[in-house]
């Protein structure tokens, strides 16, 4: 589904990604771990098409198509979803209105009519129940005055509404207490299928107890320095990143 080939990216002439190779197939869950500043969030932004980052070399390919000239909104229409580490506030725009706009813009891109209000309401009810979201929450302005946990839960709610092909969860666990973590993880697990894929970016192994990955990759200095199965996460938890940093420089 997703192929990343020798990806180099920089921001303001500073190279952050230095040759990433990764292949994600449908039905898989990949975890990307690594110390602060290793390039994890940059990688997710580059996949989503944020203009600020310049791809200097390499390719991001989705279903055989090079995404180089594809705008962020078109990437979204093709099924890429990014759960933001720091979701922004949009005052005066309710969660419901925002979702309605997002869904209908996606449908428009596919040549479909707006989703009938009845179906929209049904979808909202179904997904908000799944994520144990209070209905009052949906009429509030997007992320305005939300707690850290509410913001993250809202991201996963949007993901559930949009049903993406490829979901990238950028530190979705940060700011979540243990109950919220369980609810969010359950939500993600319910959305997993043989046709879609998830990339989980995290510092900690904790989230991976709930969302069990098929592969774990360690990012360091803009490169994947080690890949393995889910047991690699445990090993990292135990040993820290230092042994890998050393290994990488050897």
């Amino acid at each position: 589904m997703l192929q990343i080939k020798n990806l180099h990216a920089s921001v303001e002439d500073k190279e952050i990604l230095r040759g990433i190779n990764l292949e994600v197939k449908a039905g898989e869950v990949h975890a990307i771990m690594g110390p602060n500043g290793s390039g994890k969030s940059t990688l997710s932004s580059v996949i989503a098409g944020k203009e600020e980052f310049e791809v200097t070399e390499g390719q991001v390919i989705l279903d055989g198509e090079d995404l180089e000239d594809i705008s962020p909104e078109e990437r979204a229409h093709k099924g890429i979803f990014l759960s933001f580490q720091y979701p922004v506030e949009i005052p005066g725009v309710s969660v419901t209105n925002f979702m309605k706009t997002a869904i209908n813009e996606g449908r428009k891109a596919k040549g479909l009519e707006d989703m009938p209000a009845k179906d929209m309401l049904k979808l909202i009810r179904e997904k908000s129940e799944m994520l144990e979201i209070d209905r009052k929450f949906l009429s509030r302005s997007l992320n305005e005055g939300f707690s850290g946990g509410e913001k993250k839960r809202n991201e996963i709610f949007q993901m559930a509404m949009l049903e993406p092909k490829l979901a990238i969860l950028d530190e979705t666990d940060s700011g979540l207490d243990i109950d919220a973590l369980r609810i969010v993880s359950n939500g993600v697990n319910k959305l997993r299928s043989k046709d879609n894929a998830v990339i989980v970016i995290t510092h900690y192994q904790r989230l991976l107890e709930y969302i069990v990955p098929d592969f774990v990759h360690v990012l360091h200095n803009g490169k994947i320095v080690k890949s393995g199965g889910k047991e690699l996460a445990l090993e990292l938890e135990e040993k820290g990143y230092d042994w890998l940093k050393n290994e990488a420089t050897v």
Partner: protein, 481 residues
């Protein structure tokens, strides 16, 4: 192909005036210049009684002694008052005509503006009194209103038909001596609307007037007078568009609202006059005096959506004279390119237990400057006066400006005044967030701007709110139109 701040700005700047056309109608226009003779000629042309002519002459005398104010935070080339023609009327106009008799070219123009009178009549249940240049050419629904005793006509007609009301209230809220432009308007006002709601009557429909500026170099001096007698209610809508022209056009209107005991007036404006091109050339100068007088338990709400004009100078105000009276001001002002707006309100608390609310939303893009200027004044006799003010500014790009000048003068210790202000910028992060959810940049801006303006848009009557929302999008979205 995602948008950078730079591209975003460029896109905002490429907006063209949507209603930029000129209709060729034979007009009867006075020679340029202003003198006593011209004032008398205007009055004569309009077949006014002598008291009106004298009223105008007195105003002219006052105006000659006054100087053009310079305190507003706007910069422009001052109009040459001797280079303006003070009267222009579409030649074929006849107030007794039915709609079918109206100049087909005029009707064509309304069609282009998307405001077919017939459509208005049928679909929106709105009585429309259209002011084209200076003379009313069509009035509808007069009969329905007449049955309730409601008078809704041109001010010229009111001067002739209802002199007792006009004599009593004209200049009672905005005196001739009030300010430079109000004095000028009093001397030369060409036409405008008059509305009287009798005691205890609730006006069954929204009253609406569309103003147009069409004739090159013709000053526009509209005069509006709305009187809500005791216990009555009226909602009045005013909407404006104008064909684009290279010369600056001066518009100095006066609007007076009189809300007697227990009466309520809602006055809503959507204003979209030609703002000048993207180099800042041309555009309408809009120097307006709008004021309401509230008697006991009366209420006045001003709601305005301002997207047009090169220079705007406008402060719809409330004099809360009666005890328990309420004044409200809800405003959205959008400036783009080189537009300048200095707008806000004055809430003058004179009576006891008077309350006022001010919600002002300023949106600036391009190289424009948007100022909020507001005065909240509480007199020594106004026990328990309350005011809440909120001024929010939204900036797009790095070359525009937002300014807030709140003045508060309180002479009574029991007063409670609250003022909140915020300034924010549409950030690349907000745009990217929307993009990531599949919403393109133009739609994202519309979404953010509408969210920002929601509190005010909600105050507009339904059909007007939709129009206003569309106008906001047109004003800010460049290539969409």
């Amino acid at each position: 192909m995602a948008y950078t701040e730079e591209e975003l700005k460029k896109e905002l700047e490429t907006k063209e005036y949507e209603y930029g056309f000129y209709t060729d109608i034979e007009s009867e226009t006075f020679p340029v210049g202003l003198s006593e003779e011209i004032v008398i000629a205007i009055s004569k042309k309009k077949e006014e009684p002598e008291w009106m002519t004298l009223w105008r002459l007195e105003a002219f005398k006052i105006w000659k002694e006054m100087e053009e104010p310079e305190w507003a935070n706007v910069h422009y080339v001052k109009p040459d008052f001797q280079a303006i023609s003070y009267y222009s009327a579409p030649k074929k106009a006849d107030p007794n005509k039915t709609l079918d008799d109206v100049d087909p070219e005029l009707l064509e123009m309304y069609k282009k503006l998307g405001i077919s009178v017939d459509e208005q009549k049928k679909l929106q249940n709105v009585a429309v009194d259209i002011v084209m240049d200076s003379v009313s050419v069509a009035t509808t629904f007069k009969k329905t209103l007449g049955e309730k005793g409601i008078i809704f006509c041109s001010i010229s007609e009111a001067i002739k038909e209802h002199p007792e009301l006009v004599k009593k209230y004209l200049g009672s809220v905005v005196p001739k001596t009030d300010n430079f432009y109000a004095a000028l308007n009093s001397a030369v006002f060409s036409d405008g609307s008059f509305c009287y709601i009798p005691k205890g009557v609730r006006c069954p429909m929204e009253l609406s007037t569309y103003f147009r500026i069409n004739q090159a170099g013709t000053g526009q001096f509209e005069r509006t007078l709305v009187i809500a007698d005791e216990g009555s209610y009226v909602s009045y809508l005013e909407g404006c568009t104008a064909p684009s022209r290279d010369e600056n056009q001066l518009h100095a209107a006066v609007v007076e609202l009189v809300s007697l005991d227990d009466a309520e007036i809602k006055y809503s404006t959507v204003q979209n006059w030609f703002p000048g091109n993207k180099e800042g050339k041309g555009g309408v100068y809009n120097f307006v005096t709008k004021r309401a007088l509230c008697e006991k338990n009366a209420k006045v709400s001003w709601t305005q959506v301002e997207t047009g004009s090169a220079v705007t100078w406008k402060y719809p105000s409330c004099i809360l004279k009666g005890d328990n009276s309420i004044g409200e001001f809800y405003s959205i002002a959008v400036t783009n390119n080189y537009q300048q707006a200095d707008t806000g309100t004055k809430m003058i608390h004179l009576g006891k237990n008077t309350r006022s609310t001010i919600i002002s939303k300023g949106i600036s893009a391009g190289k424009s400057h948007n100022s909020y200027r507001g005065l909240v004044q509480v007199s020594s006799r106004a026990e328990n006066a309350r005011n809440f003010s909120q001024c929010d500014s939204l900036l797009m790009g790095n070359e525009c400006g937002a300014h807030t000048f709140p003045y508060i003068e309180v002479k009574n210790k029991s007063a409670m005044i609250e003022h909140e202000a915020t300034t924010s910028k549409i950030g690349e992060d907000q745009i990217f967030y929307c993009n990531q959810r599949g919403i393109d940049t133009e739609k994202a801006i519309a979404l953010i701007v509408n969210g920002f303006s929601k509190e005010v848009l909600n105050k507009l009557p339904m059909e007007f709110a939709v129009e206003a929302q569309k106008l906001l999008e047109i004003s800010l979205e460049g290539s969409v139109g």
